[in-house]
């Protein structure tokens, strides 16, 4: 039940990210000039008849954010009283702290007229909070708590997947910086850049935009490397559905994301394309995080962090590919 609830919270957070990206895409961030009130009303009593034009996006974002905050409180309390793993209980508290900080950042960026630093931090923390909800959903899943018959223990995969996740997060921060410094169309053509492979002139906005495009290249290669490693692992050891599914999904998501990024430029930042680009970016990050955490699962368990699993008899894990092949053959 807690697992289902945490999945629901993660889903709501996706909706919240979409709502936030619609605020920026519609340039609606200051359409409600006060915070935490809305035009002097309590946020929850602000009359719906007044949710006109851009207010709909900003006020809607605040209401969804409040709902997510409320759900996070429930989840943190639930974890605190029902979860045997101490570290996970505190992780729930940390998620609650993150969503509170996120709300404060959202308010500050309104009150200070959307400074790029605060708005970018708001976007960056949103992704971290989303990752925390996804991680909680993963940690509370039956598959995570049950000991797998053939756990993955691939140091290379751990390194590649973790580096990929870090690269995706960095790329999202670059995108948020681009978005909040108004550099989204600093390079107005695609795939060329001012008709060249490399821009023939530079400014800070062009440099930020260029970095985001280069970041997309790095992330694409990193994701392909991670997926290739997962499929390599699956080919040799088999039974890696918990990794091959997200590894396939993330390739599809990255292809979608690159297409959306190109269309964002080509459509002169169409509101919905631009906003969905932000959401798919978050989904790429979350998928990479899932791959990374599943790759790290054995290592986490061995360090005694999963108290629930400690009661389950340990099963042999695959450390050496050659021995794994032999073991696999022996079992067959």
């Amino acid at each position: 039940m807690l697992h289902r609830f945490s999945k629901f919270l993660a889903g709501c957070t996706v909706l919240l990210i979409l709502a936030g990206s619609l605020v920026t895409s519609n340039d609606a961030g200051l359409s409600v000039p006060d915070w935490p009130t809305s035009y002097g009303w309590n946020m929850f009593t602000f009359p719906p008849s007044m949710w006109v034009a851009n207010i709909l996006y900003e006020h809607g974002h605040r209401l969804i954010a409040s709902s997510v905050g409320f759900l996070t409180i429930i989840m943190a309390v639930w974890l605190w009283f029902a979860e045997p793993r101490r570290w996970l209980r505190w992780f729930g508290v940390a998620a609650l702290g993150a969503v509170i900080a996120q709300g404060v950042l959202g308010g500050l960026t309104v009150l200070f007229f959307l400074p790029a630093a605060i708005s970018t931090a708001h976007a960056g923390l949103a992704e971290i909070f989303f990752c925390m909800t996804v991680a909680i959903a993963l940690f509370t899943s039956p598959r995570w708590t049950a000991a797998p018959a053939n756990p993955v223990d691939d140091a290379m995969l751990r390194r590649v997947a973790t580096a990929t996740t870090a690269a995706i997060y960095t790329q999202i921060l670059l995108g948020a910086t681009m978005r909040h410094t108004g550099a989204g169309l600093a390079i107005p053509d695609f795939p060329w850049m001012f008709g060249h492979v490399i821009p023939d002139h530079w400014s800070s906005a062009i440099a930020i935009h260029f970095s985001h495009r280069m970041g997309a290249l790095v992330v694409t290669l990193a994701v392909l490397a991670t997926s290739a490693r997962v499929w390599y692992h699956n080919h040799h050891y088999g039974g890696r559905g918990e990794l091959t599914r997200p590894a396939t999904l993330i390739v599809a998501l990255v292809a979608t994301q690159v297409t959306l990024g190109a269309l964002t430029v080509l459509t002169q930042r169409n509101v919905w394309i631009n906003s969905v680009h932000v959401v798919v970016g978050a989904l790429v990050l979350a998928t990479s995080l899932v791959i990374s955490l599943r790759a790290w699962r054995v290592s986490i368990a061995e360090r005694g962090l999963r108290t629930a699993e400690s009661a389950i008899p340990a099963r042999p894990s695959i450390r050496n590919p050659q021995s794994a092949i032999r073991n696999s053959g022996a079992r067959a």
Partner: protein, 269 residues
């Protein structure tokens, strides 16, 4: 320990909110008199018996792009108030196809050390029919700007100056008024309504009274100007600025024409 953490988080949030509220305040509370006094300067008064004037016209050379259409359907009130197709006010071109309105013309340089009477009366900007009225105007440093919402819908008035204090205030109720005083000269201060993205206006804030906005026939008139040689500047929101020098003798009136070059465009107004 958890309790302490909670207290810390709440305290941080409260402190941040207090700081933020301070950061978002405007100059509206500043005494207009002190700002006006500082704007007046300590030099000699302008002698009205020798003062002249600059009259003139602003024109555009070539066909300007068609003003962007506005979709107001996000707010039913705006739709109801505007039954005909609506367009941006970027290019206010007269019937002759040349005269250009909404151009702010002012004395940029050459005034020396004159002192001026404090501004009398208030400048006003009204949010009516989901537009700002006027779209381009001028006012004095220290003068009170009254901001009115005449619409039966919400507006926020968001000033985005570079040299003055930025402010963003909501006016959710029809008939609401607020005032603001700019403390430093600045050409131009943009206004926008973040609720209705098409609403924008510009105000030129000066420490002297020699400014005007061209009307729909492109005409402007700057009077009571002391004899001297001045740099006049004309500012347009899209076409940029144009300057020229003019020398005014005692009781002399000079005609000046500013001509902006139209940008290349495929469609015409």
């Amino acid at each position: 320990m958890l309790r302490n953490a909670w207290v810390g988080v709440l305290g941080l949030a409260l402190a941040a909110s207090v700081v933020a509220c301070g950061g978002g305040s405007s100059d509206a509370g500043k005494p207009a008199e002190s700002a006006a006094a500082s704007a007046a300067g300590g030099g000699q008064k302008v002698d009205p018996t020798t003062a002249g004037s600059v009259k003139g016209m602003v024109t555009v050379d070539g066909a300007v792009p068609k003003n962007e259409p506005i979709k107001m359907n996000a707010d039913p009130v705006c739709v109801k108030e505007n039954t005909s197709p609506q367009f941006q006010e970027t290019y206010e071109v007269g019937a002759d196809g040349k005269s250009l309105g909404n151009v702010f013309v002012y004395v940029k340089d050459g005034l020396g050390n004159y002192s001026y009477d404090p501004p009398t009366g208030e400048a006003q900007i009204d949010q009516k029919n989901c537009r700002y009225h006027p779209h381009v105007f001028g006012m004095r440093v220290g003068q009170t700007l009254t901001i009115v919402n005449s619409d039966p819908t919400l507006h926020n008035i968001h000033a985005m100056p570079k040299g003055n204090q930025e402010f963003n205030n909501g006016q959710p109720i029809q008939g609401m008024k607020m005032t603001h005083v700019f403390s430093a000269k600045e050409v131009m201060v943009p206004f926008k309504c973040d609720v209705h993205g098409w609403m924008n206006a510009y105000v030129g804030v000066l420490d002297h009274p020699y400014f005007a906005t061209s009307d729909k026939d492109g005409k402007f008139d700057i009077s009571n100007l002391p004899p001297g040689t001045y740099t006049l500047e004309a500012w347009h929101e899209k076409l940029g600025t144009a300057t020229q020098s003019v020398t005014i003798g005692a009781k002399e009136s000079k005609d000046v024409t500013f001509t902006f070059k139209a940008p290349a465009a495929t469609t015409t107004n």
